[in-house]
Structure formats: structure tokens, C-alpha cells
Amino acid sequence: MEHADELIRKLSDLARLDLTAEEQARLGEQLPKILEYVGQLREVRTEEPPQPTTPSHNSRPDDVRPSGVESDILAQAPDTLEHYWKVDSVF
């Protein structure tokens, strides 16, 4: 595993999540301990391929229906244009 600071930086990029300097320092100490604890699971002998443990019980035809709440949802957003969320350009 990478050095803790390098790992924190990489995960912070992947998660699109900035951290304060204090959080970075604290997580640098805590994360390796937590990962070591959960890493004990690698010792368990497993054979079967992973499979979903929570089957979907109740599916219905995928028909498009009006939700009736479009304007309520848009009203929560910081910035909208007509019936769209407004986002900075990606490029």
C-alpha cells in the first residue's frame, strides 16, 4: 500500500472531496489503522464468486411516467435554467 499521505491524496481525487490540512493529517493516521482492521477479512477462505445478497423482489415495467415533482426538485438546486440544473462547462 502507498504511503499514507499519497493514499489520502489519491482517494481525495477519486472521491472529488477536498480535505482540510487537519483532516488530511488525522486521516493519514486513522485510515491505515481502519484498513488494517477491515483487511483481516482477507484471511477468510472464500471460494464462491461474489453474488448479490439482496435480490430485487419487486420489479415493474419500466414505463415512463410523469413524477409531478420536477419543479420541487429543481427548486432545491443552487442554480437552474428553465427546467435544467445549471452547471459550469466541463471543458
Partner: protein
């Protein structure tokens, strides 16, 4: 009314005898909340609208309508469930000011049954925690001793019932978030089978684990709340169309010959010996009622916590990707580009524990580590489920402590996340196995409550409620109230 009614039965008796009206009950409950909140901090918001709703109940009754199952009964709702048009924050700054676009199915069904929602209760931010100290807004205190935590994440709901601020409450349980605070506060808390209660309108934490369930003083009342919420919902594809048994009607049935399993792994390492002894004395009560105690083993149970703390952060990190400063709440509108809007909005909106879980979840799902961590956890979860399946061929119910310890002091575990995670040691197995489980009051150690956890096989909530009810018929721990 000299004291507030504590059970559905007491509310209904009072309403029918015209000792009080629903409006009087609601008004006195709001007064009670106002008097307790400076000390306890269980509520994030009180609903003044409940007065008009209570008057509507009184009008129904005056016009001769029959009493509905929860008619006029006060209910507190964890603030990670939405009510249309009203604020729901999940105790996170990210959702400050967010208003529900629909009413959660569980809440809607309880209101249809006549319940009166008095307010929204505090929780650990996004239900991540075991003490309610991770709320972005306030800690909640335990009414048995305000220097200890109430448990979490549904600490506000547990305290609301324990401190007579509501007769009933609902919470969500992903790894013990209903049962553990119920245990710390001396109330009943129950997690149904995964798929039994709709999560529509529940702000998601970990979608393969989350379930909504009741808090009450008695198992009988918890059964009524469960019954009103349970069943298929077209808005949640994980809800099952399996028949929901009438658990209330089955409560009085005998438990003689019930086989109760005592799994050694839940009484050993990491469990306070005094807690283990208290819970074993509850097992003896069952024996005196004619149940048979059977020593059983779940060899994978000690791996459950590590399994949980891989799967849960993985799912949480995915679910929380939606809080990006574009669709909800506070947004840092920097000119530095879209990615910086995401990164800075998330930095400012999320608390420390939420960030920690996002980082753990991102790690266990990342290229190079996903097989050793996430996929391995899924495999172990499947094996653990099979272990539980086999055990329930031998026994009807498992009996264990709910929590390894009684309630711990405020601040004692906030600096060390691993010790906080250990509080979930005995509750996460039921979530991983999808089975129903319940915590019932089972004694005290130095003035702090001890919860007894019961688990039953998938979809067999009826046996769970019957077992819990039988215990409360011959014990009075649940009648003890703080103060």
C-alpha cells in the same frame, strides 16, 4: 392529564373515555418537549402543524369514526426521512434547507393509521455513527444520565420515547442504528427483514443494508408500528410482496418449546462480562417460560464487523456522490471550474465522519483493491448468511447482548473511529444476513440500561415479536423510566 400516556393502549383508553382530546395530548406533548429539549437535544425540529392534525383527529372521533390503529398517538421521526414540503437534513449541513419532494412511505402509512408526527429527531450525520455525536447540529444526551451518549445513529428517536417526548418513534438501522440506541435508552427498537419496509423517502446510507423500524416502550406497540409500515411499495423495488403476517394477533401465543439459541461468539471477546451476565439472566427468564436454550456457534460472526465496515462505506461513498453542490443545498460557486465546485462544496458540506467513510469506501472500491476488500466482503457476507440460515434450522430465535457495553461517556470515542465502530459489533450481523432483530430492555448496570437482542429467521418477524412480548409479560425493566 397528570402524566403523559406511555403506550398506544393508554392513549386510546384516554381518548375513548374522553379524559383528554387528541389536541390536548398534542399540546401537552409539545410542552413536554419544550421542557426536556434544553437538557436532551433529541429533536432537530418540532412540528407545530401537529396541533391542526390533532384537531382533525378529534373531529373524526366526534363524528363517530372508528379508532384507527395509531389514532392520536404521538410519533417522532428520524430526520433522514422526508415529509413533503418540510425540511429534512439527515443532520448534515449539505442538506440544510432541503425540503422533501414526497412523504416517505413509512411515514405516510403511519399517518394513515392515525399517528401524529410531533417532530424530526437528531441523528449522526447521514446515520453514520453510534452515539449521535456526529450530528452537524447538536449532540443528543441520554436521559438516564446526561453525561453519557444515547447511542446512535437514531439517538434522537430513542431519547424521544425514553423521555416521554413521544409515545412512538421510527428510525433507520443499517448496522444497529435502531437497536443500539434502544439498548442505551431502555426502550424497544426493532429492525425488520431487509425488504419488509419501504425506504422510499429515506435518505440513503447503504442501500443493501438500510431498513426503517420502530421504537416504543413495549414490544406490543412496536408490533403495531411495524404492522402499519410493512409491505410492498411500488416506490421501493426491494420491498417484498410476501404476505405480512398479523404480528399483533400472534403476540399472546405461548413460547413454551420455543428453541432459543445462545451463540458463544456474541458473549466473548470485546463484550463487557457484566453485560454478558445480565443478558444471560434474561435467557434464564425464557427458560422459566418453557423455552429451550440451545448453545450454538456462528464461527463467522467475529468477521462481521470488518465485513460491514467495507460494504457500508463502499455503498455510502456511492450514495453520497449525489451531494456535489449542483443539485442540493450549499454550493461553493468558485470560478476554478466544475471539479472545484464539487470538491469544495463537498469539503464544506460534509462532517469528519462522513468524509472518513467516503474515503474508506473509495479505497475498498478502487482499482487494485476492490477484489481483496469489497468483493471479498461480499463473499464473506454470503457465507455469513448461509451460517445464519443453518442456525435457524436448529433454533427459532437467537438471544445475545445488543451492545458490547452500556452507554459510554460523551466524547469518549470521538477521537478514535475504530473504538466507535466496535459499538456495532453485535448488531451488524443481522443487517448483513438481512434478518429481523430487536432490542428489548433487560436490566441495568450502575444505573445504565442493558438491551437484550433477539434475532429470527428472514421474514419471521412474528416469532421475534412473540418472543419479545413474552419476556415483557414477566419482567418490568421496560416500565422503568429515567429521572
Amino acid at each position: 392529564m397528570t402524566t403523559l400516556p406511555a403506550t398506544i393502549r393508554e392513549v386510546h383508553r384516554g381518548l375513548q373515555a374522553k379524559e383528554f382530546s387528541a389536541a390536548e395530548l398534542a399540546a401537552q406533548t409539545l410542552e413536554r418537549i419544550a421542557s426536556q429539549e434544553p437538557r436532551l437535544g433529541a429533536f432537530l425540529r418540532v412540528r407545530e402543524q401537529v396541533m391542526a392534525e390533532a384537531q382533525a383527529v378529534d373531529e373524526r372521533l366526534a363524528s363517530g369514526e372508528p379508532l384507527r390503529p395509531l389514532e392520536g398517538v404521538t410519533l417522532a421521526v428520524k430526520d433522514n426521512m422526508t415529509i413533503k414540503g418540510e425540511e429534512a437534513t439527515a443532520a448534515s449541513k449539505v442538506l440544510t434547507g432541503y425540503r422533501g419532494v414526497a412523504t416517505a412511505t413509512a411515514v405516510a402509512r403511519l399517518r394513515t393509521a392515525g399517528a401524529l408526527v410531533v417532530g424530526k429527531t437528531n441523528l449522526d450525520e447521514f446515520a453514520m455513527g453510534a452515539s449521535t455525536e456526529n450530528s452537524a447540529f447538536q449532540p443528543t444526551k441520554n436521559p438516564w444520565n446526561t453525561s453519557v451518549v444515547p447511542g446512535g445513529s437514531s439517538g434522537g428517536s430513542a431519547v424521544a420515547v425514553a423521555a416521554s417526548e413521544a409515545v412512538l418513534a421510527i428510525g433507520s438501522d443499517t448496522g444497529g442504528s435502531i437497536r443500539q440506541p434502544a439498548s442505551f435508552c431502555n426502550v424497544v427498537g426493532m429492525k425488520p427483514t431487509y425488504g419488509r419496509v419501504s425506504r422510499y423517502g429515506l435518505i440513503a446510507l447503504a442501500s443493501s443494508l438500510d431498513q426503517i423500524g420502530p421504537f416504543a416502550r413495549t414490544v406490543e406497540d412496536a408490533a403495531h408500528v411495524y404492522q402499519a409500515m410493512a409491505g410492498v411499495d411500488e416506490h421501493d423495488a426491494t420491498t417484498s410482496s410476501q404476505l405480512v403476517a398479523d404480528v399483533v394477533a400472534g403476540l399472546g401465543e405461548s413460547i413454551a418449546d420455543m428453541r432459543i439459541g445462545i451463540p458463544a461468539e456474541f458473549f466473548g471477546a470485546g463484550v463487557d462480562p457484566q453485560v454478558a451476565a445480565t443478558v444471560m439472566s434474561a435467557a434464564k427468564v425464557y427458560e422459566s417460560l418453557g423455552a429451550k436454550l440451545v448453545n450454538v456457534s456462528l464461527p463467522l460472526a467475529p468477521q462481521a464487523l470488518a465485513t460491514y465496515y467495507i460494504i457500508q462505506p463502499a455503498e455510502a461513498s456511492s450514495n453520497l456522490a449525489r451531494y456535489d453542490g449542483i443539485r442540493f443545498g450549499p454550493s461553493v460557486r468558485t470560478k476554478a471550474g466544475l471539479e472545484q465546485i464539487y470538491r469544495q462544496s463537498r469539503e464544506q458540506g460534509f462532517g469528519t465522519e462522513v468524509k472518513r467513510r467516503i474515503m474508506i469506501g473509495t479505497f475498498v472500491l478502487s482499482a487494485g483493491y476492490a477484489d481483496a476488500y469489497y468483493h471479498q466482503a461480499i463473499r464473506v457476507r454470503h457465507m455469513l448468511r448461509e451460517e445464519f440460515d443453518r442456525i435457524f434450522d436448529e433454533v427459532d430465535v437467537l438471544l445475545t447482548p445488543t451492545s458490547p457495553t452500556v452507554a459510554f461517556p460523551l466524547g469518549a470515542r470521538t477521537q478514535d473511529p475504530l473504538t466507535m465502530y466496535l459499538a456495532d459489533l453485535l448488531t451488524v450481523p443481522a443487517n448483513l444476513a438481512n434478518i429481523p432483530a430487536m432490542s428489548i430492555p433487560g436490566g441495568f448496570i450502575d444505573g445504565l440500561p442493558v438491551g437484550v437482542q433477539l434475532m429470527s429467521r428472514e421474514w419471521d418477524e412474528a416469532t421475534l415479536f412473540r418472543a419479545g412480548h413474552a419476556y415483557q409479560q414477566v419482567t418490568d425493566w421496560h416500565r422503568r423510566v429515567p429521572e
